[in-house]
């Protein structure tokens, strides 16, 4: 039992949950912001509330993040802290570059890396890792693209007699509904992963019996942390998803979000805890493929795919390094040093991000090849009529 260390781990876990929220706001809301179905502020507010509601919706996959992937018998609080550090750093670095990468993979990679650091590769259940994480990660964007592409094609066919104006306003309403579903699914899917980590830490510390589920305060804290992160809005990632991949119209936005919500919720029903990011990106690419004449910027998609391949190993290396350092120093002091370094790295990344600020004012500015916006962040907001 080490309650100081436990508190530190819980705070780190909630910090991860916060980055999970702001990194992934775009999965639900990027297309609605791009088509102006919702103003940027309203979009992130709505998404935040629904993430919080989603956190309470289902509690089945809590604790699955570690069990089945690593030998939980050797997990200590130091391993959990180091794994979380790996996940947080990867999330912040990819956010800086505006790359929508998977928060789930960052967390899994960090925990696996820290476990390898603590006990070696035999403590990892590699077969499960491939069958439950890597193969679904490869398949889910393809399935999402298929569903979104089919949906897009049908929506344009069915609505071809509608005028541009009627089609736009009709599908903007549909988009708000479907984006809300993705936010709900995100809260359900992603908040549970942090709940699982905190519950694991409580069990490891013998604060909770081994059979315990997530206590209410854990559910509430995780829901609030992910909602707060969502509300802050990961504008850099939103910009890449909404403007960088495909120029999106309202029917495409609705098709993309519906496909994402369906694939995420159905897969989790079948026991696959997918990355919402992989699904949302696949869906957006699918809407580009499903509409005649739409262009998918494959160079942007390629950059993302590269980041996805590196997510597990990169977060793993950071997790392993953080464990090695904490272990060399030893005990609580080791984790404290890790935490101080983590805070310092986060501060540097935030400082770097201010050179190319992306915020609600310029998130939709013309895509000119990178996340760095073509318009300054302090430009006067568009007239209220927009």
């Amino acid at each position: 039992m080490n309650d100081f260390l436990l508190v530190l781990v819980v705070i780190t876990a909630l910090s991860f949950d916060f980055t999970n929220g702001f990194h992934d706001t775009g999965n639900a809301m990027a297309t609605s912001i791009a088509t102006k179905a919702l103003s940027p502020r309203v979009a992130v507010g709505l998404s935040a509330v629904l993430n919080l509601v989603g956190a309470f919706l289902s509690l089945t996959v809590a604790a699955t993040i570690a069990s089945g992937l690593v030998d939980t018998g050797i997990v200590t609080l130091t391993v959990v802290a180091a794994g979380l550090a790996g996940g947080i750093i990867w999330n912040l670095v990819t956010w800086l570059f505006g790359i929508p990468s998977s928060s789930s993979h960052a967390l899994i990679g960090g925990v696996i890396g820290a476990t390898i650091g603590a006990a070696g590769g035999h403590a990892v259940q590699w077969h499960n890792l491939v069958a439950k994480v890597i193969v679904p990660a490869g398949l889910s964007p393809i399935v999402a693209a298929l569903v979104a592409g089919t949906g897009t094609w049908m929506l344009y066919r069915i609505s071809k007699n509608l005028t541009e104006g009627a089609r736009g306003s009709g599908f903007r309403i549909g988009q708000i509904g479907s984006a809300s579903m993705v936010s709900l699914a995100h809260g359900t899917n992603d908040a549970q992963k942090t709940m699982g980590v905190i519950t694991l830490a409580l069990i490891v510390n013998k604060t909770l019996p081994a059979t315990a589920g997530a206590p209410f305060w854990v559910i509430l804290a995780c829901g609030l942390a992910i909602a707060l992160g969502t509300f802050v809005g990961g504008w850099r990632v939103i910009r890449t998803l909404g403007k960088g991949l495909v120029e999106i119209e309202p029917p495409q936005g609705m098709a993309a979000e519906s496909a994402s919500a369906a694939v995420i919720l159905l897969s989790s029903h079948f026991g696959y805890s997918l990355s919402t990011t992989h699904v949302a990106t696949g869906s957006i690419i699918g809407t580009g493929l499903g509409k005649k004449g739409a262009e998918v910027r494959w160079n942007v998609a390629g950059r993302m795919a590269t980041a996805w391949v590196f997510t597990l190993p990169a977060a793993g290396v950071v997790g392993a390094g953080a464990y090695a350092l904490a272990n060399a120093i030893g005990g609580t002091a080791g984790v404290v040093v890790d935490t101080i370094i983590l805070i310092a790295i986060a501060a540097v990344i935030f400082w770097r991000s201010r050179k190319t600020t992306v915020n609600p004012n310029n998130v939709n500015s013309e895509w000119t090849g990178s996340v760095a916006p073509s318009e300054p962040a302090d430009r006067a907001p568009e007239p209220a009529a927009a």
Partner: protein, 100 residues
């Protein structure tokens, strides 16, 4: 130090790709993720039908509601099915996520 999570380790080894789950996810996702939006689009189209059931002489308008009573009713049915399906889905997730 032998808690439940560790004790549950020797679960049956899952296949590399679970094709049974995969095809069900694909089919159900197509129904819910593409079918429901398509139904919504059919509703929009029904809603836009003009007074006589066809476009008026002055050409199509940008209005969402065309005013054809049958169209409005058909649209209402479409939208209700979509909302009902979503509501049922959320309820099913809640039920499955809170085992008694």
């Amino acid at each position: 130090m032998h808690h439940v999570l560790a004790a549950a380790a020797p679960t049956p080894i899952p296949p590399w790709i679970n094709f049974t789950a995969l095809w069900q996810i694909v089919v159900l996702s197509l129904l819910a993720g593409a079918g429901l939006p398509a139904l919504f689009a059919i509703g929009l189209r029904a809603l836009s039908l003009g007074g006589g059931g066809t476009q008026t002489a002055e050409g199509p308008s940008d209005k969402l509601v065309g005013g054809n009573p049958a169209g409005v009713v058909a649209a209402g049915v479409c939208f209700l099915i979509v909302l009902g399906a979503i509501g049922w889905g959320i309820w099913a997730i809640y039920e499955a996520g809170h085992p008694k």
